[in-house]
């Protein structure tokens, strides 16, 4: 702690506060600090399926809040661990799950979307995954129907995911709030069904949002995740550390 304090002092003496980059600041912290990943496209790139206003708020405000609160929770957790405070460690787990889940889900979500003008948004970008979808659900249309029904059946806030499980293969799962899919399955693509993901544009018409999200699924990313491991799917998080 003496060293950390010293370093902080040194930084604040040598450079004006604004000039201290996030990375430099993070080196003085005990817990890992996550940062908001950049979007792989512009805010307006998913129009007309998802408006620029939604994308900007969703990324720069909502996702940022999960990142900020995850970092806070992890710092408190690391302090509770250092002082052997078990009740606090347990109490903090809900905040870590919610905000950590929010960070994981959104990071995966941005990458599994692509502008409809991009070749990545075409089904042909995922030949192996398409073959597996057809083998599992008979046809892509039947899969789409099942996925759509799952999304519209969510009560409250949550997500729908296509995942790959080691033993059983492809499966559609829904999760509540920001619960992430971190129990061994590989997330292939997810759709955010929180109202903030569509309300400014679609209002209460969530079925239209779900219909239009199919135009901007990044099938190239989905194919990569389908062929890769769980660790590879989550590598986006490590790069943001």
């Amino acid at each position: 702690m003496v060293y950390f304090g010293f370093l902080t002092q040194l930084l604040s003496v040598q450079i004006p506060l604004e000039a201290v980059s996030e990375e430099q600041y993070n080196t003085t912290m005990a817990a890992a600090t996550y940062t908001l990943p950049s979007l792989p496209y512009a805010y307006n790139a998913l129009e007309p399926s998802i408006s620029a206003q939604i994308m900007e708020l969703h990324h720069s405000k909502h996702h940022q809040t999960y990142v900020t609160n995850l970092n806070k929770a992890l710092q408190s957790y690391s302090a509770a661990t250092a002082s052997g405070n078990v009740p606090d460690q347990i109490a903090l787990q809900a905040a870590i799950k919610f905000n950590g889940g929010g960070h994981i889900n959104h990071s995966l979500f941005w990458q599994n979307l692509a502008p409809s003008s991009s070749p990545d948004s075409k089904l042909e970008a995922a030949p192996k995954l398409m073959a597996e979808i057809k083998a599992t659900y008979d046809s892509f249309d039947r899969f789409k129907e099942a996925f759509t029904a799952a999304l519209l059946g969510i009560q409250g806030s949550g997500w729908g995911w296509l995942v790959k499980e080691e033993l059983t293969g492809l499966r559609i799962v829904t999760t509540k709030d920001q619960d992430p899919v971190v129990n061994g399955e590989v997330p292939i693509f997810g759709v955010d069904m929180w109202e903030h993901a569509y309300y400014l544009q679609y209002l209460n018409g969530k079925a239209a949002y779900v219909q239009n999200i199919w135009n901007v699924i990044n099938w190239k990313t989905a194919e990569e995740r389908f062929q890769g491991t769980r660790e590879e799917a989550f590598k986006v998080l490590k790069s943001q550390l």
Binding site: T65, Q155, G156, K176, Q178, E195, L200, L203, N204
Partner: protein
């Protein structure tokens, strides 16, 4: 029973409050026509809660969202009836999540509309009388209560509601949160609810939900809340 008389004896206050509990439905504005749920009228115009809640939010919230819960509730009840008449109890039981969600949505919104009022009329301010006394005793004052309610609202992870409730057994007031549309049932009588779903504020407040939670106190109908408290 004369709750006024009993309330003058402080030791009996909790007991009096507890024993006077009535079925929660009596305190609700949920309307039914021949066993069918129907959308209740709002007791004010859509723009009446402005500038705290926009007319557009109120219109969508009432006419679309609440209507969807009413429709969903009636569908769930019909499915249960149909399953019952065929003796298919497994099918009837499978409707439970939908009944809870849509039934809860109908009950929650019906209570919500009535515990709001335009700031130019009954809305805002602070409760008085027996309710004020109970809030002072159980929360240590109105400001503390309001702060605790806002903390509870801010802490909801996902969609849900926060409620001021009366505990039927102890007779004391408390705060509870409920996920999604889970209604307040069992040992609690709901007195005042605040909707923390994003559809309740997003068009006006976007991600700044704390501003919505601050603003809504200007349109709380304490007359309704006090009347629910007195009847409970």
């Amino acid at each position: 029973m004369s709750s006024t008389l009993m309330r003058t004896v402080p030791a009996l206050r909790a007991a009096a409050r507890a024993s006077a509990a009535k079925p929660a439905a009596a305190a609700m504005g949920t309307s039914f026509v021949r066993g069918k749920a129907t959308l209740p009228d709002l007791p004010y115009d859509y723009p009446a809660l402005e500038p705290y809640i926009s007319g557009k939010i109120m219109e969508l919230h009432h006419k679309k969202h609440h209507q969807t819960y009413v429709t969903g509730l009636n569908t769930a009840l019909e499915t249960i009836e149909g399953a019952k008449s065929k003796g298919d109890l497994t099918k009837a039981a499978s409707v439970a999540p939908l009944l809870n969600f849509h039934g809860g949505g109908h009950v929650n919104h019906s209570l919500f509309w009535e515990n709001l009022a335009p700031a130019s009329r009954e809305g805002g301010g602070e409760p008085d009388g027996a309710l004020k006394k109970a809030i002072d005793e159980d929360f240590g004052g109105f400001d503390t209560f309001r702060k605790q309610m806002n903390t509870a609202l801010a802490g909801i992870q996902g969609s849900g509601w926060a409620w001021l409730v009366k505990d039927k057994q102890s007779g004391t007031l408390g705060l509870v949160t409920r996920a999604n549309q889970d209604p307040v049932t069992g040992n609690y009588v709901p007195l005042m609810g605040i909707d923390a779903w994003e559809h309740a504020y997003y068009l006006q407040y976007e991600n700044r939900k704390a501003e919505y939670f601050d603003a809504i106190w200007n349109v709380i109908n304490w007359k309704t809340v006090a009347s629910r408290f007195d009847k409970s």
